[in-house]
Symmetry: C2
Subunit: 463 residues, 2 copies
Amino acid sequence: MGTVVIHQASYVVTVDPSDTVLRDVDVVVEDGVITEVGDARVGPPPRRPTEAAPEPGVTELDGRGRLVMPGLVNLHTHLPMTLLRGLAEDVDLQGFLTRVWAAEGAVMDPATVELGATLGALESLLGGCTTQLDMYFHHAAAHRGAVAAGSRHVIGPVFLDGPGPDGLAWEQRLALLRSWPGELLDIGGPDVPVSAMPHATYTCSPEHLAEVAAVLHEALGETDLDAPPQHPLLTTHVSENAAENADVRERHGASPVEILDRAGWLTGHVPVVAGHGVHLSASDRARLARAGAAVAHCAGSNQKLASGALPWVDVHDAGVRLGIGTDGCSSSNDLDMWQAMRQAALLARLTSGRPDVASAHEVLRAATLEGARALGLGDVIGSVEPGKRGDLVLVDLERPHLTPVHDVHALLVFAAGRADVTDVLVDGEVVVRDGRSTRVDTADLLARARARGAEARAAAEAT
Amino acid sequence: MGTVVIHQASYVVTVDPSDTVLRDVDVVVEDGVITEVGDARVGPPPRRPTEAAPEPGVTELDGRGRLVMPGLVNLHTHLPMTLLRGLAEDVDLQGFLTRVWAAEGAVMDPATVELGATLGALESLLGGCTTQLDMYFHHAAAHRGAVAAGSRHVIGPVFLDGPGPDGLAWEQRLALLRSWPGELLDIGGPDVPVSAMPHATYTCSPEHLAEVAAVLHEALGETDLDAPPQHPLLTTHVSENAAENADVRERHGASPVEILDRAGWLTGHVPVVAGHGVHLSASDRARLARAGAAVAHCAGSNQKLASGALPWVDVHDAGVRLGIGTDGCSSSNDLDMWQAMRQAALLARLTSGRPDVASAHEVLRAATLEGARALGLGDVIGSVEPGKRGDLVLVDLERPHLTPVHDVHALLVFAAGRADVTDVLVDGEVVVRDGRSTRVDTADLLARARARGAEARAAAEAT
């Protein structure tokens, strides 16, 4: 895989345990692993390139005037829905769902899902988001599409009691999960957990939720449900709005989190990511905290759909891990993790009435290391430290809106944006260079997305 | 001034009374005035340039794959505070003010104000914001700085009962207002109102507020206070947080809006812009609506400082004109009107609990035409229509996060951002071309801003 040397980065925002910021140092990535950050390094001395004669297999990036930070982790999204962005605006939730479902039913075959996932992964990577926890039907197609763009893409089979847009029966979904570990290896791409993705507690019965957890264990070769399998992940939508909570309580006499607990999800053996988690009771929070489960906070989508406002301080203080997500483009319209960070920080201050909470440090950590930990990847990615995989982002500071630099964390959360990202590494590979993908023929991709998007729109308008 | 022709713009979002969107049309600006938008034109036939031989004095811009829209109007900001961005983070309001005031007192002389205003105007223009309603001490210096960058910059003398950072006595401030119409002409730049800017009803007495309004009339040659003078503007901070309302009520037994009414500001003869307006009573709203006054909604700053959440639907339904502002960089960290639009739309849905309010159409109009009307410039700028001045923005649509285009208004408010702006015209002059200022030596400006910013930081840290 070769070596990437970032020379003399003006700032390195490490997100290490001490939140160290380094000035004017090199960062070296060898064969996918960060081997040097300033004076700190692991392994043998680096093959230091020189300006006179760069070695073969060495990529050199100029870090002067730039900031190096960990790749952003989008903890809840639906990448293929990029093709539907703006398709259902200025309508209430029912109108929204009617239009989106019509479009999905009409066009979202595996090839279209793959196209939409590549588009979503490309948008994500150009904006410095290196990992996405995705959820969509035809998961293998979505994974192929996102991995092709160079993304560390986390996905797995989606489960619904009913047939869903893909028309599958329950047993067919379980079969998809059993074969998913092998398929993941076949598709390749950066290391990610094997994931199972029941849609929600209002669309999957408690018994089915328990069955999915058991089959995930089994698929990973671990038949003892009290023992942790290798590299699993469970995720679902949890308490996104008040109507969902009411619906689940009417069906089951319990909250969504209580249903997950009954289904054996909250043992602490398997990482669990609760998408949204806007309306959690104190008891719900305590249950999630005990299990080490995470909430994927999607401040933009929650406001746009009027779902409500997650009380960041309450969730944080309960000990629940908080990550940041964008949700899908049909509800939040883009995949901009910088927006999502800023919205999370602002909303936390609004809901608490305190200007001194959800600091830029805390929110940046949520969007990087905490997101990585939520996925069981805390030792793999999420910070700029020797020994971790090289998922790194370079930000150009030589811009009017980033001048002067008084507080580099505040600059990232409250002033920087996706377009300030110049270069992106995933697993040590430079997948974005000078603002352009090194892997995707962007003009061709956009043309195909427009054509397929027009067909989706025609389907939505026919409803 | 010459002619600018935008050829074959893929979309023109006019923000005209019917919210017309045109496809694949030319836009022509001659001597500062929009003369043609598609088939609609005023004046004689344009001097149509040809690809073979462009005429002298004609600038040609390629509109293919691009969108043309009116320049954004930032209805409340403090441009010179760009130099202080991130200087007071993760502290409460009192800590914030202590640090910011120390830095201001130490470094904000006229030359520094001019530098900060140029930096702020440059950031604004690069992001497609062509007009800013600014408020800062050393207003003439700020105006020189912003006009140098090419901005349509609205400012005037600031008033405080006490001495303030500039150390002036009340009579000296009145003298500054009397001479301001002449100074504005001397400095030049695009047409703007003559403005007077008392800081707030908790820092200016009701008698002083009345005196400022009278002197503004007089400065514009109109001694009859019941007659409208030419091109005036009054602006001040109004009900930004609950503590301000309590303070004013304790001092005067009235709300800030009631104080303005008593001071003769709400006659309807002079445009009034109320900065923030977060905590307005129904009676306050009715008073502002009757006077045709506007509220400058700064959703980002209001959340970051935990000031509260303006209830968009209530203010809008009361008939109060709503514009969009960023506030200054020391409280919201950048001057991004795209952020401000999106935050306004999201917050409106959150505060109302309805996903079908604050449509993208309504929010884009607030950030363009309604902002222009609030400044008394509704016939001059704010929409792409023949006869208006050429304050125009080109947006590059050939980007993954803007693909596909299903709803062009939603795309602008919920997916686009400052970095999608390629070219910007103010008063018919191309002041940003291919993402770069045609007027400012950016590298030199950033170096000077860093040096002066470091001195501001040293002053803040010495407190």
